[in-house]
Structures are given as C-alpha cells and as structure tokens.
Assembly symmetry: C2
Homo-oligomer: 169 residues x 2
C-alpha cells in the first residue's frame, strides 16, 4: 500500500524536493515496471505491459548513450514514476542544447500529489547541469490535464506536434 | 543566380529524388551558411546570422554524436537547405526509436519547389536506415503553411508542443 504524499500542487512555487521521492537512472531490472507504467495509460499505443526483445534492445541503446537517460522515481523503495531525458545539441537559438522530455508517467495511485511536478523540476535541473537552455516536450492533444500541468510549470504551448510512422528497415 | 527546380509539389507521390539536389553531412565550413539559413526566417529567435562560439561548440557536439546529424542540401554546389536529424531510442511504443527532425530550413529563393519535400523524404530514409519506426517534429503554431506541408507528407498533427527556457548553468 503506497502512502500518500503531503505535497501541495496548488502553486508553481511548490517545486522543492518532494519528501520521500528518490530519483535514479533505471537499470535493466526496472524494465518490467517501466513498461507497465507506460502501458497503464489511456492513450499509450502498446497496452500489453509485457517486456519484449524490442524493449530490451531499446534499454541497452539508451543505457549506452551519454545523451540519453531513462529515469525512475521511487517512493519507499517502489518505482512510482518514469521519464526519459535526452540532450540534443543544436545550431538554432544561438547554439542552444535542448532537453527533450519523453514518456513521463506517474503511478495512477499517486497522480495529483506533486510527483509529476517534482519529476519535471528534477528533469530541468538535470538538463541545466548538462548545459541545456531550452526544455521541450510534446503531449497528445487529448491530454488536456497534462497541458494545464505543463503550462503551470511555465511551459509555452507554442508548437504543433507531428508524428509519422516509418516503414520497417 | 540559382536556377529553378522543375519539381512538382502538387501530389504526395512527387517524393522521388529531386534532380540536382545533393545531400551531405555538414562540415565546419558550412556553419556560416547554416546559421544564415536559420536566421533568415520570420519566426526564428536569433536573427543576426553571425556565427559565434556557441554555434561552434554546438557544431562540435553534433559532429561528435553518432545519434545526431546536421545535414546540408546543395544545388549546383551551393547550400540551399539544412536540417538536423536525431535518433532517440525509447521504451514507449514497443521500444521504438524515434527520428526527431529539427531546424528544417530552405533557401527562400527556392521555397515551394519541392526542396523541403525531398529533404523530408531523405530524412525519413536516414531514420529508417537507423532503425527508427516513428518520425516526429514540432512546428511553431504560426507556421500554418508548414503544418499543411507536414500533413501532406502523411504526418498526423496529433500533439501539442511545449517549450520552456531554462536558466544558465
């Protein structure tokens, strides 16, 4: 049974360290839990929640890439959140490196308790430490609660996001 | 004086190799032209078009990163387009690697002549060759012509794009 968090989410200033949350790089043993968190979502495409060879290969590729980090968040030793962070050097915006945040998921039992806010704050610090001067992310147009959340963090909802499936190699 | 291209852009099937266009990885000597192409844009934030140390550091970082490629497109030996391609391995969507396309620019004298379409086709093939099964990009909400263009390539305009400036390290 997960305890509740006594974290207020009512104001953007409530972004300090969240008591009890611990952040770390994911290891291979986290993969089933990460895949389950990603699958436990109304919009995610893959809902089986089972780990397959494609997940294992992807984890190995992320783990080997110094510009990529799969992060897990623990509460009382249980993984309750995950996100993927990528540093992208670029020429635009005076040579800005971008922090790309993907696949943010919080255990549904803990939603609305500040875990996501603590995760984004941690992500931004991770990016700043690596020289990123811009954070960016996209969110499915159906996720209006998420849009409000990102705007509350100061994000500008300035872009349209496009996706195209590519054929197999 | 740049010659015109006899490429039709009226149908999505007009995505074959564009006569006269040559694609290659950017080298350091391309940086002034790339920065000028990025600056020659109504929306881009940096409009000076001058190369500074931040651009040079960014180029070095891209050049050293096997998951990142700064591409230039030549017509008759002159650089007329640029884009940045990034491969991002990920756990979501059954371990899909994503192709992120950023900073697409075409010389304004050649816009509407199929150069952008040829560039995107090349980008997708580049991503497929690296195992990417999803292409994604964002476009400023003001760029409605660009949105129509990406939809014409088959992209789904499914996401909201968010950006947040980060403080200096």
């Amino acid at each position: 049974m997960l305890r509740s968090l006594a974290v207020t989410t009512s104001s953007p200033s409530a972004v300090g360290p969240t008591p009890g949350l611990a952040f770390r790089t994911a290891v291979a043993a986290d993969l089933p839990r990460v895949v389950a968190l990603i699958a436990d979502d109304a919009i995610a495409r893959s809902r089986t929640g089972e780990v397959g060879p494609a997940h294992e290969a992807a984890f190995a590729a992320i783990d080997a890439d110094p510009h990529n980090e799969l992060v897990v968040v623990e509460l009382d030793g249980e993984v309750v959140g995950t996100m993927q962070l990528t540093v992208i050097p670029g020429i635009s915006r005076n040579g800005a490196s971008r922090l790309l945040v993907e696949a943010v998921r919080v255990d549904r039992r803990l939603r609305g308790q500040g875990v996501g806010r603590a995760m984004m704050t941690w992500a931004h610090a991770w990016g700043v430490a690596r020289g990123c001067t811009l954070a960016q992310l996209t969110s499915d147009k159906q996720r209006v609660d998420a849009h409000r959340f990102y705007r509350s963090l100061g994000y500008e909802q300035s872009h349209e996001g496009f996706k195209l499936p590519l054929p197999p190699r």
